[in-house]
Symmetry: C2
Subunit: 321 residues, 2 copies
């Protein structure tokens, strides 16, 4: 039980109930073409249709709504250049509290604009971890805001677990559930939902070869940080956390890696065949299928499509991508 910490089955069920009025119950899409291609049944849980365009809305909402009211007065804070920044800003606005977001100065204009749109208050820092952490520490001291870590937080993990919970509830008897892995919030939560609610199911994670810290940590059963991640899947560049890593070690069955080329091809394939916008990180599990890394013939496979936030002026198959 130690590996799970305090995230019990009711923690996830409570999270689902808590966030239901605020988040989207996202659709599960299928494609005959894709099923025929893999001789399997594939179910895409479309978190790209989630609030703020990514599963991160689940965790952020659960974390904020789980805080005692006395903790909310001074706002919440995080450092993030990605979907968590938007999710936290949006979720803070639900309870009329402030969100302080530390972002590196080189963050994309689109992401900065999105955070501002949701009401987040941005402090820029240098684009390195030390500067991010120092700046966040200063903000926390100055404002008294509560830090909400993007993944190394049990309420965040329980929130992210609700995507798989919905999928397991809607599509019966899945053999495999796949998710991408970055910091491990989504994967950790997914693996706990499978552990509790689909005990015969297997959890297979996919990660870019060029940001394979989770693969290495999992294989060597010891934490190995993400040092020079060089992947288009910008949501998957972070290292695992002290809470997410043990959960993953205990409840994930396999982690496979995929090439940059197949991430881009898979992303484009999903756009063209499914007519949905998915971001590069979302295409990583599907890329593992395209690369033939996993044998799924005859199986029922759920895939968490993690998000759909892309810059339409810079698509990876464009010259200026």
């Amino acid at each position: 039980m130690n590996s799970i910490g305090s995230i019990q089955s009711f923690t996830i069920l409570d999270a689902a109930k808590r966030i239901a009025p605020f988040i989207n119950y996202t659709p599960v899409l299928t494609s005959h073409t894709i099923n025929r291609l893999f001789k399997a049944e594939i179910f895409l849980k479309c978190e790209n249709f989630q609030k703020v365009g990514a599963f991160k809305a689940r965790g952020a909402t659960n974390a904020i709504l789980s805080l005692p009211e006395s903790d909310l007065g001074c706002g919440v804070a995080t450092h993030s250049s990605g979907n968590h920044a938007q999710a936290l800003s949006w979720a803070a606005s639900l309870v009329n509290t402030r969100a302080f977001i530390v972002m590196p100065v080189n963050s994309s204009k689109i992401k900065v604009a999105a955070v501002k749109d949701y009401g987040g208050e941005i402090t820029f820092c240098e684009p390195d971890l030390a500067s991010r952490e120092t700046t966040l520490f200063r903000i926390l001291e100055q404002t008294g805001a509560k830090e909400i870590h993007p993944y190394n937080n049990e309420q965040i993990i329980a929130g992210q677990a609700t995507a798989a919970l919905e999928l397991i509830d809607e599509i019966k008897n899945l053999d495999i559930i796949m998710a991408p892995v970055g910091g491990g919030g989504l994967l950790g939560g997914t693996s706990l939902s499978v552990h509790y609610f689909l005990p015969e199911g297997k959890v297979i994670a996919a990660e870019p070869e060029q940001a394979n810290d989770a693969y290495l940590s999992f294989t060597n059963r010891k934490f190995i940080p993400s040092l020079n991640p060089d992947t288009i899947a910008d949501g998957l560049r972070t290292s695992l956390g002290t809470i997410t890593f043990p959960i993953i070690l205990n409840h994930v069955h396999r982690i496979v890696t995929v090439s940059e080329e197949s991430i881009v091809k898979s992303m484009r394939f999903l756009w063209e065949r499914m007519k949905i916008m998915v971001e590069p990180s979302s295409a990583v599990p599907f890329a593992a299928l395209m690369e033939g890394k996993i044998e799924i013939t005859g199986k029922k496979v759920g895939i968490i499509i993690s998000g759909g936030n892309v810059d339409l002026d810079h698509l990876p198959w464009m010259k200026n991508g």
Copy 2:
């Protein structure tokens, strides 16, 4: 009744039953952001998720399955450079018959490849109507194939009507249903479904200003052909037909036009906010809302999103678009 010809309510219901095993029952998507923006409830019937990526699969399937078996032996034929070509090729393969498609030599490579993928047999012609018709006539003579016109065909219209039928059935008490108008197959079918199954509802069509033949024909109550259509909405460049025009005259309440700029903006807005790929023609009704052409405050508005086939290498907001 003359205006409706032989398309009765049971014609549409029969079509729905006939094509159900083959086509997708497409989802209806909503967005809180969009509803808030317009202070209305907006429901997108997502035919971009339809087989072959467009509503055209409905009409083509219904037309082919309605033919007596004796008519199927020599195949079916049409001239089309767009979604109907793909839809007819795909639907012909369902009943193991051949599809002869006449396409202009300057058709995009992507569309040619898609038709071939679905098994269509292409004959190229010069890019003008005379050449298209002459070539089709020759093919019909040589092969004995049955012509399936893209819109001026009652079984096609009845098939296209089933999209609105599903929408009316799923979302109760819609005030308005909107559709784009090109040749009038989708709009004619939609207006008949509203006439029979949502008699209090209004049908409002939208058309590009730069291909405003339906608007002019409707306003002047006499047929005016599409002469020099110059719009990015490539599905909406055709003239109305002798069957579709009277239906539209009698059952459509209003036609509004929109600028090219707002078509592209609306298309991008739908991609970014809804995370779905819609083609330019599909964005035309939404563009009418964005331009404030229609008062919808407090109303329930259904929009038929007609298709999602776009060339991801040439998007309209790109320099090479």
